[in-house]
């Protein structure tokens, strides 16, 4: 296109285009958003792949995530170190998975990671309770929460181990046609 931008080399942009669901312009826009979060930390020149990570607190301050009850879990699921520190690659990855064009399977994998609060590869009762409390901002009584968790596990657990494995979760998601449209953040 002949854009004179010096942030990325052309190969880098091509790599980003091939590996994510974003186009060049969107990636440059994402970079400017990333830069905005911490202008003194994030370099403008990414041609030599600087190792720069932004802490969780800065990322969840973004307007797209600020009011989301799962914001901490979202950022943690995409961070390599599990603490929520995102490099630019992970930042792009996060928004790519949450974009419109990501397929259902990919979104289901990350949704499972997000709802799995204790990171044990299962959605156990505690995970469900935490999810529900965050969804309803603790408006449900504990008995109701308990009941909902029981019923949820009852409905979705196929192999009878009283927790939802990824296969159970994916099966349940496949029955919810709205999942693709709700699990989507516009950036």
């Amino acid at each position: 296109m002949g854009n004179k931008q010096t942030i990325f080399t052309d190969e880098q942009l091509d790599a980003y285009q091939d590996c994510t669901f974003f186009t060049r312009k969107e990636i440059l826009r994402l970079h400017s958003r990333y830069h905005e979060l911490a202008p003194h930390l994030v370099p403008m020149d990414y041609t030599n792949e600087p190792d720069c990570k932004l802490p969780l607190a800065l990322i969840v301050d973004m307007p797209e995530l600020k009011e989301n009850p799962f914001r901490n879990r979202i950022v943690e699921s995409f961070s390599e170190d599990g603490m929520g520190n995102l490099s630019f690659n992970e930042f792009v990855d996060m928004f790519s998975v949450l974009s419109e064009m990501a397929p259902r399977e990919l979104k289901a994998i990350y949704a499972f990671k997000i709802y799995d609060f204790n990171v044990d590869n299962y959605l156990c009762k505690e995970d469900l309770e935490k999810t529900l409390n965050r969804l309803t901002k603790e408006e449900l009584t504990p008995e109701e929460v308990e009941l909902v968790c029981e019923k949820t596990i009852e409905e979705a657990d196929l192999d009878g181990d009283n927790k939802l494995s990824y296969a159970d979760f994916e099966n349940m998601i496949s029955r919810a046609p709205d999942f693709l449209s709700t699990f989507h953040i516009r950036i």
């Binding site: 312009k25 009850p69 170190d81 309803t136 901002k137 408006e139 949820t152």
Partner: protein
């Protein structure tokens, strides 16, 4: 695809599927700290150990309940092999662990627990996927593409190779596969992998490097050229995508809307955008093939060309009636460069020899006929394609029972980002969960007979009211349109010209008024009926609205296509009366008027329904709740407008331009109004389902009705004799036939084509056969769906059985380990004791 799990207990450090445990450590660091703290606090004695052994003898159902913590611990065992002794880990009371560490180690490496977790597992999984893809794309992968570590007997069959291969070799094999796939497949695979971006980039660079080394070694010049062409095409495709993306209409506005109102309201605006593209396409087609050629060769103007008064914008008559806008303007002969030499004949087949010049000629009637036909055909294809895609996304084969689970996991709309709407959404979800719980708990609640009868009576009364109101309005429209049409033809000169033209607006005003008021009545009636389930209420409202609009359009089509042409054979008068001269232009003008008045009434509705109501409710009623945005009603209104546009394309080739302007203005007005005055709908709105329904409604009653009307017009109605491209023919369709005859006359070799045309196109038998075949295909597909439903239930039973098997095997495994350990313990306790 059985994985070989190594049950050899003497090798305690078998980590199946784990390539680099150190990496996993980093991921679960926080949890590992928790485990260490807890295990430090609890050191168990041998007594508790024995208690546990006794507990294990009973096969409890919840024997797997404590797998969360220890399963995780299994991950870390690779790095902490020295402290793998069971004592501290296994018997942590807080985590209610009952299984031995050996069992846990094995369990932790089960395939189901490694999905999406370990990098190695993901690479293996995607290696399998790429193998499957390759098998699908070609019959058998070339043996030379396999690395040497694959076993010879399974080379080329894509079978799961030894799991004891290292990460590096797995990665290498995946890269091999990726390199062999086509570019599109490779990109799709790369994008869909749940690895993080830096690893994907690494895979990609490895793949490209391999491709380069491969290609540079044995490429001939042709293949290299092909390679460069493909690269160039990809670059241009990306730049096109970027360009299209920068054209993204209204991106920021839509984001604001979705941030405050969620996906439901957003779907209305997305539907609007979708309709806009249809109209742009129609405009491009008619503009390029009809308007432009005719604009370059304007016909002789009528002597009495009316002057421009402001009223034309509303009525479409007057100055506009002799312009490119309407059918009547278009000439019926072949457009030539040197027109002066041509005799302007009335029948297209008569062409004087001087007209056959070397300049390209443009057969207007044929162009008109084929342009409209092609536009409708392509629109049909696009509609059916998007309908099937949308249907595929939202259709679920089995009846979903997992309502609570879906509500818990899929109902949070991540697009909503403002504080108050988020709060509102939480409240909504809370309410819905409570309702679902109540429903689930009290499912046995049955109505008594008296209550059922009462409900039936109320519903019957409501439907009677609705149908009666609709019928009354239809009858009113019928007689009023008849009356107005008579008034037109009376040529009452006592009325001023302006008044006469303004009276043309009476029918559109009446119809728009009915379209505005009657849905409000339906809403009131639905409130009275008091439905239990909000989705049923939505469907009932939708069907009543639809019934109204379809019948109104039906009456209007009857009026335009039966009455107006029939009464248009009036004696030749010098008066420029549009109904006498050119009924097609008149119908085109009517449709233009309907569109404009419809737009004005929508504006009024937005003004009164949203703005004033919000002010009223804020200031006077002092309620906190703002009016909601009724998505279904608005979308149905859009569909109604689009039907009018499609009906009118034949008579008014520039009508899509009017519709585009209308949609653009509507977008900005509606977004501003919604942002200022409304709040998100309280009732749950199933976005995918409703979008599918709306696209289906756009395709079936709307587009199908419009195309049926247009086809009927082309086939059976006699075009008016004094204007338009088809004047003099018996029907518009005959233009095609005339052209075929002319071709046959000029070139006898084409008689086969002419005969094919006669038998296939004109003979309705062919259409019946085609329709019959389609119906049979649909029937077969529905049978396939039924079969798949049965398969799904069978598979679910199978999964449950496998779950039982798994529990059984785990408990058996546990008992084996316990038996092995118990003799050792007895020895040590005997020694110490």
């Amino acid at each position: 695809m059985a994985r070989s799990v190594n049950f050899d207990l003497s090798q305690p450090d078998v980590e199946i599927g784990l390539e680099s445990p150190a990496d996993e450590d980093v991921v679960h660091d926080s949890f590992s700290r928790l485990i260490e703290e807890q295990s430090e606090n609890n050191r168990l004695s041998a007594i508790e150990l024995q208690d546990l052994q006794q507990d294990l003898d009973e096969e409890g159902r919840d024997s797997l309940a404590g797998l969360s913590g220890p399963a995780y611990r299994g991950w870390r065992l690779g790095s902490d092999e020295t402290e793998e002794d069971d004592n501290e880990r296994q018997t942590d009371r807080l985590l209610q662990d009952k299984l031995s560490s050996a069992t846990l180690r094995i369990l932790s490496s089960m395939p189901s627990r490694t999905i999406g977790r370990s990098r190695g597992a993901i690479i293996s999984q995607y290696y399998n996927k790429t193998m499957q893809l390759r098998r699908r794309r070609q019959s058998r992968p070339a043996i030379k593409d396999f690395s040497r570590s694959a076993r010879p007997s399974i080379r080329g069959y894509g079978v799961e190779v030894d799991t004891t291969d290292s990460a590096e070799s797995k990665k290498e094999r995946l890269v091999n596969n990726l390199q062999i796939l086509s570019v599109g497949d490779r990109e799709r695979m790369l994008r869909a992998m749940p690895l993080n971006l830096s690893e994907k980039k690494e895979l990609r660079s490895l793949t490209l490097k391999k491709t380069k080394t491969h290609s540079s070694s044995k490429l001939t010049c042709c293949s290299r050229l092909k390679f460069y062409i493909i690269i160039a095409l990809r670059h241009s495709w990306y730049s096109l995508l970027s360009f299209l993306h920068s054209l993204q209409l209204w991106q920021t506005r839509l984001k604001k809307i979705s941030g405050r109102f969620g996906s439901g309201v957003l779907s209305y605006f997305l539907f609007l955008k979708y309709l806009l593209f249809f109209n742009v396409f129609l405009l491009l087609v008619t503009g390029a093939f009809l308007v432009l050629p005719q604009a370059l060769y304007p016909p002789k103007l009528h002597a009495m060309r009316r002057s421009f008064t402001g009223l034309e914008l509303l009525t479409g008559a007057g100055y506009f009636s002799d312009t490119l806008m309407y059918y009547g303007y278009y000439s019926n002969d072949t457009l030539q460069r040197n027109r002066e030499n041509c005799i302007e004949g009335n029948i297209s087949s008569s062409a004087s020899p001087q007209c056959d010049s070397n300049y390209p000629s443009y057969n207007m009637p044929l162009a008109y006929f084929f342009t409209i036909g092609m536009a409708f055909f392509i629109t049909c294809i696009i509609l059916v394609y998007s309908m099937s895609k949308s249907f595929g996304q939202s259709f679920r084969i089995d009846k979903s029972h997992a309502m609570l689970a879906m509500k818990a996991f899929c109902s949070w709309d991540f697009k909503v980002i403002k504080k108050n709407p988020v709060k509102l959404m939480s409240e909504n979800i809370c309410t819905q969960l409570k309702e679902l719980l109540a429903e689930v708990n009290h499912r046995k609640f049955k109505n008594t007979l008296k209550q059922k009868l009462h409900k039936l009576l109320v519903h019957g009364l409501a439907w009677t009211i609705c149908i009666a109101a609709t019928t009354g309005c239809l009858v009113g429209i019928y007689y009023f349109s008849d009356y107005m049409h008579e008034q037109e033809r009376l040529h009452d000169v006592s009325k001023g010209r302006l008044l006469k033209e303004a009276s043309l607006l009476a029918l559109p005003v009446l119809v728009s008024f009915i379209n505005l008021v009657l849905p409000g009545l339906f809403n009131l009636v639905a409130d009275m009926e008091n439905y239990n389930s909000p989705s049923i209420r939505t469907y009932v409202a939708l069907s009543r609205n639809l019934m109204l609009k379809v019948s109104v359009l039906g009456i209007l089509c009857y009026h335009w296509l039966s009455r107006v042409p029939a009464e248009s054979d009036c004696p030749s008068s010098k008066d420029q009366d549009p109904t006498c001269e050119c009924w097609e232009s008149f119908v085109g003008q009517e449709l233009y008027r309907f569109l404009i008045i419809d737009f004005i009434f929508t504006l009024l509705d937005t003004l009164f329904g949203e703005l004033l109501w919000r002010l009223f409710s804020d200031k006077v009623l002092r309620r906190k709740r703002r009016p909601g945005f009724d998505i279904a009603k608005n979308v149905l209104h859009l569909i109604y407008g689009q039907t009018l546009a499609w009906l009118g394309v034949l008579f008014t080739p520039l009508l899509p331009a009017v519709q585009i302007l209308k949609l653009l203005l509507l977008f900005y007005i509606k977004t501003s109004s919604v942002m200022m005055n409304c709040q998100a709908p309280r009732r749950p709105y199933r976005v995918s389902q409703m979008t599918t329904i709306f696209i289906t409604l756009l395709c079936f009653p709307s587009f199908l009705g419009a195309s049926v009307c247009v086809t009927y017009t082309m086939w059976s109605i006699k075009p008016s004799g004094s204007c338009g491209p088809f004047r003099g023919n018996e029907s518009m369709f005959k233009a095609g036939k005339n052209w075929m005859d002319k071709l046959e006359k000029e070139n006898p070799h084409l008689s086969l084509l002419a005969r094919a045309h006669t038998y296939l196109v004109e003979n309705p038998f062919f259409l019946f056969v085609g329709a019959g075949i389609f119906l049979i295909v649909i029937y077969f597909q529905s049978q396939v769906v039924d079969g798949q439903r049965k398969i799904i239930t069978l598979l679910q039973e199978q999964i449950e059985n496998e779950g039982e098997d798994k529990k059984f095997l785990i408990s058996k495994l546990q008992s084996i380990h316990e038996k092995k350990r118990t003799p050792a313990r007895r020895l040590t306790s005997q020694d110490s004791g």
